[in-house]
């Protein structure tokens, strides 16, 4: 049992304010989610079974970069984790498919095992909490692969659930999964029944919404 609680930011006003610390907006994160979901929906039944997740990851990372990269944010591939980095603010943001986001009871589970690179990037804050001084990225990463210039970078992930829920969160990875979260920022959660969406659907689709409303 961890001695500290996860900071959960759920109220839209607080979320906007917190995202401003990253110099980001809710719409940017939603656009990343939308790209990932559209790509996932586009998987054909003839493709490999992991196509929805793989396509979502590829397009999710692409959208993450196209949404965020500017004067201060740039592409980052430290330890093989495809991300964007802002050394001025001290943040790195990656993309992650998860089973479900924005559920305070059940934290997100990654849809794939987390590798060593991600694990190394997502350890530091925990030890910081206990005041333990550890090596930083600067000590671990080969010099030519270093953007951090010795500064400590905190790594967050845009986590997109299979139901389209999305959060921006800072996890701690241990044993190839998320052991704990330092912070979770809930961006958007759809109200649909996500359990129904877990199986890749092949049945005919007919739940189209035809909205008709009286004008004022």
């Amino acid at each position: 049992m961890s001695p500290f609680n996860t900071a959960i930011i759920d109220n839209p006003i607080d979320v906007s304010r917190r995202l401003a610390d990253f110099e980001l907006t809710i719409d940017q994160i939603l656009a990343i989610r939308d790209s990932a979901r559209a790509a996932s929906d586009d998987a054909s039944p003839l493709m490999p079974q992991n196509a929805p997740g793989t396509l979502a990851y590829i397009h999710g990372v692409g959208a993450l970069r196209s949404q965020i990269i500017d004067m201060d944010w740039s592409i980052d591939r430290t330890l093989g984790v495809e991300a964007v980095i802002n050394t001025k603010l001290g943040f790195r943001i990656g993309f992650q498919n998860v089973d479900r986001s924005c559920d305070s009871t059940f934290p997100p589970m990654p849809r794939s095992e987390k590798g060593n690179g991600a694990a190394q990037l997502c350890r530091l804050p925990l030890f910081d909490f206990f005041g333990v001084v550890l090596e930083t990225d600067a000590d671990r990463v080969p010099v030519d692969n270093r953007h951090d210039s010795g500064a400590e970078i905190v790594t967050y992930f845009v986590m997109v659930g299979e139901d389209g829920s999305v959060e921006l969160s800072c996890p701690i990875i241990a044993n190839k999964r998320y052991a704990q979260f330092v912070e979770r920022i809930f961006i958007d959660r759809p109200d649909d029944d996500w359990l129904a969406r877990l199986d890749p659907e092949t049945a005919p689709i007919d739940d189209f919404d035809v909205t008709v409303t009286f004008k004022n």
């Binding site: 929906d41 054909s44 005919p204 007919d206 035809v210 008709v212 004008k215």
Partner: protein
């Protein structure tokens, strides 16, 4: 309400009644010259106007409204143009004007789904790619469409019924004031109607604003057919659910999934190389013998319009019936009936208010 008699409205009404100028003159007990003059903008006296309205069985007020939206033949995708008589074509075009007027009236009272189509004219030579792109745009993946009309209406396509339910007039479609319209022939089997709807969708996105003009008719028709086939029956879905097809009974069992005719499914499978030439030929012959060339035994249920049913029941809940709509538009009631024919479904005896949200 205009104080001027509108010559174009006289034409529209005459076309709807499939009358020549001469026939109208005889019916109205007027001279040919009088009718011709009025149609060319000459203001008739009250007595003449009344005679014309009575002969055409249109409310007199109809002729004293603003100029109607006139559809030009080249703006409309007509199939089997060669089979159509001029009177049928004109009647259909005039029905198009009526349909626009009806939807303008609806639109003035309701917020409707906005059109969400994409211009795929650059993919005219690859209708199958166009179908895939539109499916992607709509987030359908490769799944079959369970309710085609509902999908169309959710994407802002205005679906109406073709009044000229003769075998000579197929479905047709057009863009008007940035809104896509499709008129369906309700006399056909549900499967044919579904395919027609997808065929017209092909025209709307491939031959945007009737760019088909520059194409030979056969090309535009072939493109729209291939589009419909690929849109309704995505190859990935066919290949993942059907394999080793060799008999017509397999086709008849399977066609329900895509809501298409057995013939259309067989043709698509052949196109994709999932049926050999020889198998395809023998299946087509067999289907013909079982009556599948002209009709669709073991057919699917006809789809109805979700949008029109919702609108009618919402109006009904406020005490507005088709009669009132016809009166407000100064149209004969049967014109409204024929535009909605077979689309609106039965109106419930008690209006269901939960279908509608009141926007404050």
């Amino acid at each position: 309400m205009s104080v001027m008699f509108c010559a174009d409205r006289l034409k529209v009404a005459r076309y709807r009644r499939k009358l020549t100028g001469k026939q109208l003159a005889a019916l109205a007990d007027l001279t040919d010259v009088t009718v011709s003059k009025v149609e060319n903008g000459h203001q008739p006296d009250d007595f003449t106007a009344q005679k014309l309205a009575k002969a055409l069985n249109f409310p007199i007020q109809f002729f004293f409204m603003d100029r109607p939206e006139i559809l030009e033949p080249q703006a409309v995708s007509f199939r089997s143009l060669k089979k159509m008589k001029a009177a049928e074509r004109n009647a259909s075009l005039a029905a198009g004007s009526m349909g626009i007027a009806l939807f303008d009236w609806i639109n003035s009272r309701f917020d409707l789904p906005a059109p969400d189509l994409i211009d795929l004219s650059r993919e005219q030579s690859r209708p199958d790619v166009a179908a895939r792109l539109l499916r992607q745009h709509w987030g359908l993946g490769d799944r079959p469409v369970g309710n085609i009309l509902r999908l169309f209406e959710s994407k802002g396509i205005r679906v109406l019924s073709l009044s000229e339910n003769t075998l000579n007039v197929d479905a047709y479609s057009f863009w008007h004031a940035d809104n896509p319209y499709i008129f369906l022939n309700q006399m056909k089997t549900a499967e044919r109607s579904n395919f027609d709807a997808a065929h017209e969708l092909g025209h709307l996105v491939l031959h945007f604003h009737a760019q088909a003009e520059s194409l030979p008719d056969e090309d535009a028709e072939r493109q729209a057919n291939n589009f419909a086939s690929a849109f309704l029956m995505p190859d990935a879905d066919l290949k993942s659910t059907l394999s080793n097809v060799y008999s017509s009974s397999q086709i008849i069992r399977a066609k329900v999934r895509w809501k298409v005719s057995a013939m259309a499914l067989a043709t698509r499978l052949h196109q994709l190389g999932m049926l050999s030439d020889w198998n395809y030929r023998s299946i087509i012959i067999d289907l013909g013998q079982r009556g599948y060339r002209k009709s669709e035994p073991l057919g699917v249920e006809r789809e109805i319009s979700t949008l029109l049913a919702k609108i009618l029941s919402a109006l009904w809940s406020k005490g507005i019936t088709k009669n009132e709509i016809a009166e407000e538009l100064n149209m004969p009631r049967e014109e409204i009936e024929s535009l909605l024919f077979g689309l609106a479904g039965p109106i419930r005896s008690r209006p269901n208010r939960s279908d509608l949200t009141l926007v404050r």
